[in-house]
Symmetry: D2
Amino acid sequence: MNPSTETRDLPRTSGATRARIMMAVVKAAAGPGAEIREVPVPTVGAGELLLRVLRAGVCGTDLHIVEWDRWSAGRLQPPVTLGHEFVGEIVESGSGVSGFTAGERVSCESHIICNHCLPCRTGNGHVCENTRILGVDVNGGFAEFVAVPAVNAWRTPANIPIEVAGIMEPLGNAVHTAFAGPLSGCNIAVTGCGPIGLFAIGVARAAGAARVFASDVSPYRLDLARRMNADAVIDVSKENFPERIRQLTDGRGLDGVLEMSGSPQAMRDGLSALHNGGRLSLLGLPKEPFDLDWNRLVIFKGITLRGIIGRRMFGTWVQMDQLLGSGRLDLRPAITHVMPMEKFLEAIALLRSGNAGKVVLVPWGLEGAENRRA
Amino acid sequence: MNPSTETRDLPRTSGATRARIMMAVVKAAAGPGAEIREVPVPTVGAGELLLRVLRAGVCGTDLHIVEWDRWSAGRLQPPVTLGHEFVGEIVESGSGVSGFTAGERVSCESHIICNHCLPCRTGNGHVCENTRILGVDVNGGFAEFVAVPAVNAWRTPANIPIEVAGIMEPLGNAVHTAFAGPLSGCNIAVTGCGPIGLFAIGVARAAGAARVFASDVSPYRLDLARRMNADAVIDVSKENFPERIRQLTDGRGLDGVLEMSGSPQAMRDGLSALHNGGRLSLLGLPKEPFDLDWNRLVIFKGITLRGIIGRRMFGTWVQMDQLLGSGRLDLRPAITHVMPMEKFLEAIALLRSGNAGKVVLVPWGLEGAENRRA
Amino acid sequence: MNPSTETRDLPRTSGATRARIMMAVVKAAAGPGAEIREVPVPTVGAGELLLRVLRAGVCGTDLHIVEWDRWSAGRLQPPVTLGHEFVGEIVESGSGVSGFTAGERVSCESHIICNHCLPCRTGNGHVCENTRILGVDVNGGFAEFVAVPAVNAWRTPANIPIEVAGIMEPLGNAVHTAFAGPLSGCNIAVTGCGPIGLFAIGVARAAGAARVFASDVSPYRLDLARRMNADAVIDVSKENFPERIRQLTDGRGLDGVLEMSGSPQAMRDGLSALHNGGRLSLLGLPKEPFDLDWNRLVIFKGITLRGIIGRRMFGTWVQMDQLLGSGRLDLRPAITHVMPMEKFLEAIALLRSGNAGKVVLVPWGLEGAENRRA
Amino acid sequence: MNPSTETRDLPRTSGATRARIMMAVVKAAAGPGAEIREVPVPTVGAGELLLRVLRAGVCGTDLHIVEWDRWSAGRLQPPVTLGHEFVGEIVESGSGVSGFTAGERVSCESHIICNHCLPCRTGNGHVCENTRILGVDVNGGFAEFVAVPAVNAWRTPANIPIEVAGIMEPLGNAVHTAFAGPLSGCNIAVTGCGPIGLFAIGVARAAGAARVFASDVSPYRLDLARRMNADAVIDVSKENFPERIRQLTDGRGLDGVLEMSGSPQAMRDGLSALHNGGRLSLLGLPKEPFDLDWNRLVIFKGITLRGIIGRRMFGTWVQMDQLLGSGRLDLRPAITHVMPMEKFLEAIALLRSGNAGKVVLVPWGLEGAENRRA
């Protein structure tokens, strides 16, 4: 963002002063599980930065990769170091990199895009037809060091906590979803209160929604939604969502739904609770195909439904900067655990249990892991 | 559109000079069928116009009403005069009407809206939460005369053929669908070549699409699509739609799909053939709920999917005026039959056979019915 | 908004129980000044509501009308009752009105539009080519009673203070200006801290701007801007606006300027302080034509500049409802005086002095005037 | 656009087989004039392509540079090879270039952008805060060879004439201006029929405008406008523009104005001829600041005015591809002269005379220069 910044003291390809071996969380072979083991420190190629990882977030996708679901089996080519959400400190840069300084703190866009396809050439790199993802297709940030393309690095605002800097990637999903339609002065519901849903509650409020409602089936998650200042929370295991929304909005209905659960019922309920002409932005990945009553829920209502993937590159990052840098958005209530990276498999177990919001990992040798439980 | 027009010679509620009884096509009772019979000429209420019907179009919805499908059985309250697409000549006006002159030719928006609900108050009357439809909920235009709210009347451009003036309502569906996303310079496909699909081909071309492709399974309809100047037609009973599109676009894919068929396969194929970030506008009503692979077809591709109903009131009518009035758009190849209204049931049989494009009816006592077969 | 509301107890055209004469502020003849005098209570025509006025706001335009500037001399046709910002209680309705109940509290859109011109027919009634304005072209609300078209009446949220309900018309100017471009997460400046500028500060914050800056030359007004929670205020008599903005935004510049002053320098400074591709929304009326360096300030920067007039009908009113009804927006710091309507000329003198924010008037016989000075 | 294309036979930095000296049009020193002389063939740096220039267009900016106006004097740092519009054949590539093949024909975006500033990072590189321009700030294409960043190269559709491929840069200005607001079904006027205005006529028609009007004061240019199929041309030295537009549009007014002249009167007339709520897109550079009656022409009308610079990178290029590749757009009537590059100063004299549309130059040693006069 700051084109005058000099890259004055970045050592280039020296590496003499640092270790050649590091600890990492690695999917070593096809099949369930993940290993913590020593791997070589990455070498930094042309156009890349080498980062010392400071914090990294654990994502539901990491759980799927550990469990080796169908998607993982079809996509990952082990061995690969996991971790696609992280912040690090720049320690080295490859040839052709400008605009960065050693010691700067950068968060990273996880999508490495081709820059040649039609979406890339028209400002829609987030739907690049040839995306590779850090921690999925190439080595990621669950490690002491990670090499990333310099164009993927984003200087984090100085005033935000290091844990928050570590989870800008999933925050970007929430921002992208929320900003995919009108927000200011709107009645918005977030369906699904996993970490990205929790972030979306905060984002919608900070971005000027009039009222933000949240739904889930887990009392634990609904409690976190309340801490993120949802105007009302709806336990859909007990309450009828469209009816409750109708009460909460004086019969007006919702302007927008941010679907974060992947649940067919959440989507049907969300569509039903929209007023005619409303929008549903769809980030949650359903486990399998499901059907809709298109006539009643989409066509007769004139609904706009949009699939959301990744983050706008880098419009979403500017928006995060503004929301976090101004102090309007505080994500800390959604971060329930900060743990040593060494305990990665415990973190995965926490996610599986459902009794966690966002879990952040602290790499080996760094302070800050508190095993916190909100 | 012309606020200075005087209403100088409209007789108000006199009616002395005209007949009290007229011929009409009536759904007389719950159940299949429709009758041609005498009914009273409508009286014209406050804010209404009485029109002598000049031409009326037959719609697939009329076929459903004659067959008394589930939707019809749940919605119509016989007796009701059918017909929601028509053009007429103003013969009388009710109290409080200004801006119209006797003898003027007007086409009609079929949606009578409440003007009170949130969509109505925010410029989205086409998705009014309390819409009543001419020829469905109130008496329509398959008759010698029809009474309509003056706010629903639209002066037709003087230079367009009377048959075309009679089918601006369904043309409006096509325009609304086409204009619901980018068109200029785009690669557009129309899936489903019934009358509205055929209109959409012409609209997309006139509105500046770079290339317009059309798909169907009927050789008859594909032939009409060619006459509407589709750049290529695709017989999806024989060809793989996404593959063919990929060939036709040098691998680029579609910018937009105008879904006019209600076919689940057409929608899946359409989504598949879009480049990432494209749009699908959905007018065709599927017979029943159907499922999608949301992840692969919508979310990972970042697709915008919009349900379309009715016509923007009255932005879509201005667009029709411009396209037709400028001569850029010619619908005549899509009008395959012009028949006496007396032969309504023959027209319905034609629709059922699939061997018809648009069928236009000429009321009793007027010339112009030619029993034309394109 | 609530289509099921019955109009059960509205007396229609009886009027027997109320006075025939009332007090009003009247521009009685061409030339400077205004009179407080007795006039007939308005009769209520077809489609109209008669309101007992509860509160009314004084606008800079009223000052111009009293001073009889060139615009006033060319537009007003005395005698006319002034006042275009007000809230009232429904006391009677004319024929053809539905959806309102006697005793309901309604605020009013001041633009009476033609419903026939191109902008009206396409959802842009705020730029109707034939607008007439309450309190300017037809009798307004500086009186005990006022008759208004029912379509102009807007039920105010129950939870907002009566003074705020009285100034929704100018609030709507602020909302319309602010919502004419991106707000959420943006850096916004309001240039000019008169009442609408002060409202705009609150609106931009409530609607999710990341940071809201305000500029003026009056310490009194800048103090009010601070009370409306501007993130920073800039006294342009002492500070260079573009330079100060650059400091405040880390060199990034503004995403949007809401121009409320009509000052040529404010507009040039605002354009200069925008980052390339930003927007300036222009509500403030300059006293006379002025020049711009188009190349440097508009073309090379790729700026979007939009003229703003009135309020979107009624999208802006929905937005006001949402912002006020949710409690996100509080206008009270901008209301510096609440005075008896009897003291209208004192109110005008206050405006002329510059030592006032919004001045609200209380009609004869009602309590609540406090002669408050913030 | 085609990410699978291999770069299999590009010689890298060899250059052994080609000459080291070439002919070029050079601004050799500060002050009026330009020289044709020998210069070294450019060396190709990292990320660059070396092109053999096939055709190059002469722009009004080149005239200003030859005349050494204030802008030129403040910006150019001689010596510099001129020429910012051209097409060439790839002869060599620098390190790090992929996706291109020797022998491919590419046109070039002339803006070299920083990729770091806020506009660049948010998909608005056309308003990059640090743009350098080929043929202005770095050596351009009025030469036998030119080196360009590979990211600026755009494969031209195979079916378009070589002259047209040579002027995609200014065509992009026209497309960018036209596409900056609604086009499909709209009434559009192009004010100013220089080459970009002429292109804009063709673009607006191909992109689906209902009617395209063109204005100028030169009979020569108006004749070219007719050849580009303008629906009507207006000689503003003889006719009142707003009145004529009102006649041509049945009183409706314009939806959009594409301002290409830089004339204050054209801009005022254009604003006046817009219906309320219309848009004016502003590409023409006025010679000096000028004033507007903001109230009457912008604010009361609710106009959207946008400054246009460059081309969207690379959305505008995709649109050009689509319009040209589909055959919808034919620019040949606007190309009045094809001359040897040797005669550059004659071309400049032609531009100065006003009796030229687009002038295209053919480099030394290539056939195709015809000294054509339309």
